[in-house]
Symmetry: C2
Subunit: 202 residues, 2 copies
DNA sequence: AACCACATGTAATTCGTTACATGATTCG
DNA sequence: CGAATCATGTAACGAATTACATGTGGTT
């Protein structure tokens, strides 16, 4: 029920519309939270309202039609029970590491270096944003959020540092040894060359 | 088509069965790769075979019935084309940060400290494994994988360092300022107290 | 008048997991 | 000989995205 709880968490800051929530996830999202589509948000808000965790704030028909959702007592309690529960260990899905782990000597390492450069730029963008965030003059950053932001900063800095190291290692072709007790690296190259040669002969 | 490519990537190490692949994801998984269930793996392998990316290695009916899959020339090419494509920026979904970001002064911070302690232990377990990995005497670790592992190490170490800092800050109640231009922290506490009081009165 | 940002919603589809069903082989 | 492990597979279900459908209000 984690997506629902995340919605309750966002609403705990202040009453919001589905549209607001989507926007909220749009920019901060990049490094700490995760995205959500309208097709998820609206049905879930409806469901949460039906179950009594949130309700629609009545407003005196000013301007555009919109539904501001606010937490009910039951909603506040549900959020806090969830917060007290031990969080699951996060799963990181990073294509870069799958690509890197299965790279081999018959591939052009400059492409890999390109991937690293791009990742570095993206990471630097986010880092810049994260660094300014707690003093940008408009965002609300609670004491606790500030701790979370500090973590994001450290993680992003570690990533950039690694990218620099890794890039240098690849450029100077000074790769570490690894552990290859069965000559697997060679076997892989042979299997691959064999397969591709076969193919060419046809 | 990222799951399919990950299967091709695993098969590029050596021919494997669906069962092997699942096992492969089971332990290393924790920090660099991601898990996959049989309900995903078998149908995808079947599909990849039908599409000509992999084929079943014939074996002389020794022992147990099993299907060893190997890459076809088309499979090798597809894997490498995918590797050359720029990887998407990873999405991190971490409940801990949602819980932390919406923590507030009316909640017992010792519970939060408990969450951090648990995360620390889990992270240390993985770090221990990751550190031993490239010299554990049995795993195959290519030169490139060794780079990826080095990254995992740095990230995990950064995480542990942050947990230590954050725990200390919470214990000494020495939290940072944050940024609260509209008195939102107070507003949140008021909204919540109001809601919960109402509830009690009923 | 046209366009963009605000705003809500649903239907079809994709994607993946869980749970179940089945059976062989090895080890104590 | 019973349990654990190896091994493959499917059906039902659940979760989330994409694409579509609709409309208002402010700005140029």
């Amino acid at each position: 029920m984690s997506v629902e709880h995340t919605l309750l968490a966002v609403l705990s800051y202040w009453p919001s519309t589905g549209y607001d929530i989507k926007a909220e996830f749009e920019h901060k999202a990049a490094s700490l939270y995760w995205g959500m589509s309208y097709g998820s948000i609206y049905p879930k808000l409806k469901k949460l309202e039906e179950e009594g965790f949130i309700y629609t704030l009545e407003q005196e028909a000013e301007g555009r039609r919109k539904k501001l959702y606010e937490l009910t007592p039951k909603g506040w309690e549900e959020l806090e029970n969830w917060q007290r529960m031990s969080p699951a260990y996060p799963v990181v899905k990073d294509e870069l590491f799958v690509k890197l782990s299965t790279w081999h000597d018959d591939m052009d390492s400059s492409i890999l270096i390109g991937h690293l450069q791009k990742r570095r730029e993206e990471t630097e963008d986010i880092l810049r944003f994260v660094k300014e965030w707690p003093s940008n003059g408009y965002s609300f950053v609670s004491k606790f959020s500030a701790l979370a932001i500090r973590f994001a900063e450290m993680r992003l800095e570690a990533e950039i540092k690694w990218i620099e190291e890794a890039t240098h290692i690849l450029k100077t072709n000074d790769l570490p040894e690894g552990q290859d007790l069965n000559g697997n690296a060679d076997k892989i190259l042979k299997r691959r060359r064999m397969a591709l040669k076969e193919n060419e002969e046809k």
